[in-house]
Homo-oligomer: 439 residues x 2
């Protein structure tokens, strides 16, 4: 199949195995596996960037007989491919020469206008297209903010657990991550105050995914949003608000983004990866003019400019196709799968196990029965043909050993049922093993 | 026009005004123009990254009445848009769900195989798809190599003049650039030896565009390639070979890439921006396994993964469409325009002016008559409705004041004739002004 970037079911499952979705790309250093003539030549930052030893395990997770609850993929089979194909073809016929050319480093003007309309619908009303920088997914937006703000040794505050891709960025920047404890209402204001107080140097910013967080599915409540903003304002702490999931609401609309409540000191990261198509790699940063100029320079240095074609595709999609209706399709699909997952967990998981009840997004976060190590258990799970991401991948400090992330957006309800059933068996066996040795 | 990323002639001309093409994005610091509340918070690297004061001038160059010889754009109007549109549509129908999803950080396997076939045709015969990392254009490849190898204060050697986007990368990495003098046969081996000897610390690598260089159009001769490889080998100096233009040959095939002569110590950067479509942003790095792993980690941190869609589009293009025939179309078109430019320069330029005769690629490099400053002359040129890039943009050391880069790939032959005619008048006036003041 020419042009196939991994198009069959097996490969699509494999496509879930990026560092984003395996969730643990940087937790354990592997060394000595490859003869490396360049060791003496690397930059200092490279010594902190390491591949995970569980990457190898995830090669197994890509096999079709394994039910992967480990991915972080949207279900792109829900997109109307024939209509999109016609749209892409028409785009090339109408504006091909420009879509196939370089574009300004800040991104296409029309797209930045559309992005402001999208943000306005989430409550960010006063944003100007001039203050939007188009990026290769929100990941590049975060990487650019790190380039602009982080010196080696700087402190970044982040939820514990947090998005694994953010940990990768902070590690590459040689920053120190300090986790702020969360509960079912999101990060705890008192813990944020404490983290600021305990920092030996003022933290450069707070990185947060306040809505349907990756990996926990938890949402920062309205009351806590006000408290967090107040604390950050009092301490002069900048906020990086990462909001990929805000539109994927199942149980009513989420609280307005932090950026909707203030235009001062909050950098907002958005993406079309979950509302349209991750494979186009179109995201954005909203930042005040002085910072925006620096983000554009940093982006030109990294990639020259984002793809004019994928920007044009997103612009045309937003302006000519019923994209809000498509978001509803994703919401309905994922809500059904979340319900399935929650019901199956309640049905089959042993006592002592708890999990979050996400109001939207892609993930459930589970606490294993006491004494069970999710990473140690992974080979057994893979042997039983089910995959998840161990909790340690989402921590910079070794935390998360008793936890795991489960994805419900990509596998079908049927696969979720089977996956949770298998997982329950694995946990049950691990619990019995634990009891044997601690009896 | 929905989805238009700048589709009319004016905007397409504007699309040439990225930092790559204006060629001078970082030469002069502008400060104090924006009230900046974040000054105290930026990372150290940001203080070396500055926008050019001539950026504002180039807003003028985007006007349709201005003939821009300043761009660095391929002529994408030569692509068969209807056929490409059909191909894109079919791709989505066949493999849409995977093309719209995340993919592995290293890039799509099938594409990496196709890339090895492309490289084999240039003489790089033994490359393995495992050693290829797909990037957002060759720019990201260079940025990743900088991430992996460059610490602040490190020395990088580069031709003088060199690609402006490379200077941006090295500046962001806080490296020190040392230029190696070139002549009509490319960089001078003795000057390379001298630059190594004069470095207070061993240079991390030599960055070179050996074939149809940007900005000079000059090609490193076969004999000199051997000499450069020998020098680098003796001194243990790594080479970053950037080869975007090698397939755009007008006067017979160019010498084989450096990487074709050794697989030791040469990192090779390739791109489809000039052979297919810059707007898809698909390039690659070829690197040995140990380095490749680090490049993948660095890329995942920057962008998570490249666009699965644009990778699938390039893969399908390479495997199902007559892409080598299309490269010939570009070659023929650009050769005709080069010939036009060289003929017009010979016809109308004043005595004391010289220029290169590129055997391929996109650019002519011109030396102005003694005492004429190309940057100082730019406002006058724009007033006369012609644009070029002053030579200072391609130097890290203030060099290039008496030089300019002229692009012949994007403007039509008719526009080139008119542009060179206008430019000759501007240079003539500047020469007379010079004579008045030095008489």
């Amino acid at each position: 199949m020419p042009g196939n970037p991994g198009g069959d079911d097996c490969a699509a499952e494999y496509a879930g195995m990026t560092s984003e979705s395996i969730g643990a790309a940087r937790e354990v250093t592997v060394s000595g596996t490859t003869l490396d003539d360049y060791t003496d030549r690397y930059a200092a930052r490279i010594h902190g960037m390491a591949q995970s030893e569980i990457r190898a395990l995830f090669a197994v997770a890509s096999r079709p007989e394994v039910v992967s609850l480990a991915g972080g993929n949207p279900d792109t089979t829900a997109l109307p491919m024939a209509e999109l194909g016609d749209m892409f073809a028409q785009l090339l016929r109408d504006n091909g020469p420009a879509a196939m050319l370089y574009c300004p480093g800040q991104g296409d003007t029309r797209l930045r206008e559309e992005i402001c309309r999208v943000m306005a619908s989430t409550g960010i009303a006063a944003a100007s297209p001039d203050d939007v920088v188009v990026t290769v997914g929100a990941q590049q937006g975060l990487s650019l903010l790190a380039t602009v703000f982080l010196d080696p040794g700087d402190i970044v505050l982040a939820e514990g657990p947090t998005y694994v891709g953010a940990l990768g960025v902070f590690q590459a920047a040689q920053a120190r991550v300090r986790h702020v404890t969360m509960d079912a209402e999101g990060l705890i204001p008192e813990a944020l105050e404490a983290a600021i107080a305990e920092s030996d140097t003022p933290p450069k910013f707070l990185y947060t995914v306040p809505t349907y967080q990756n990996p926990t599915g938890v949402t920062l409540t309205d009351r806590r949003r006000a408290a967090v903003l107040d604390i950050c304002d009092r301490h002069g702490l900048l906020i990086v608000e990462d909001d990929p999931y805000g539109m994927l609401a199942f149980d009513g609309e989420p609280p307005a983004p932090l950026r909707a409540r203030t235009d001062d000191g909050v950098f907002y990261l958005g993406t079309f990866s979950k509302t349209f198509a991750a494979g186009l790699r179109v995201g954005w940063v909203l930042a005040p003019p002085a910072v925006r100029d620096k983000l554009v320079l940093a982006s030109e240095s990294q990639i020259l400019c984002p793809s004019a074609f994928t920007q044009a595709a997103v612009t045309r999609y937003l302006s000519t196709m019923p994209w809000r209706q498509q978001v509803k399709v994703f919401r309905t699909l994922y809500q059904e799968r979340r319900d399935t997952m929650l019901a199956c967990l309640a049905e089959s998981m042993p006592a002592g196990m708890t999990w979050t009840r996400p109001g939207g997004g892609l993930f459930v976060w589970a606490d294993l029965p006491h004494g069970i190590d999710s990473k140690a258990m992974l080979p057994q799970a893979l042997a039983e043909r089910v995959a998840y991401v161990p909790g340690t991948g989402f921590h910079a400090d070794g935390g998360g050993t008793g936890q795991m992330r489960l994805n419900f957006s990509f596998p079908t309800s049927e696969r979720i049922r089977e996956g949770v059933r298998r997982l329950a068996g694995v946990i049950d066996a691990a619990t019995r093993l634990r009891d044997t040795f601690t009896a």
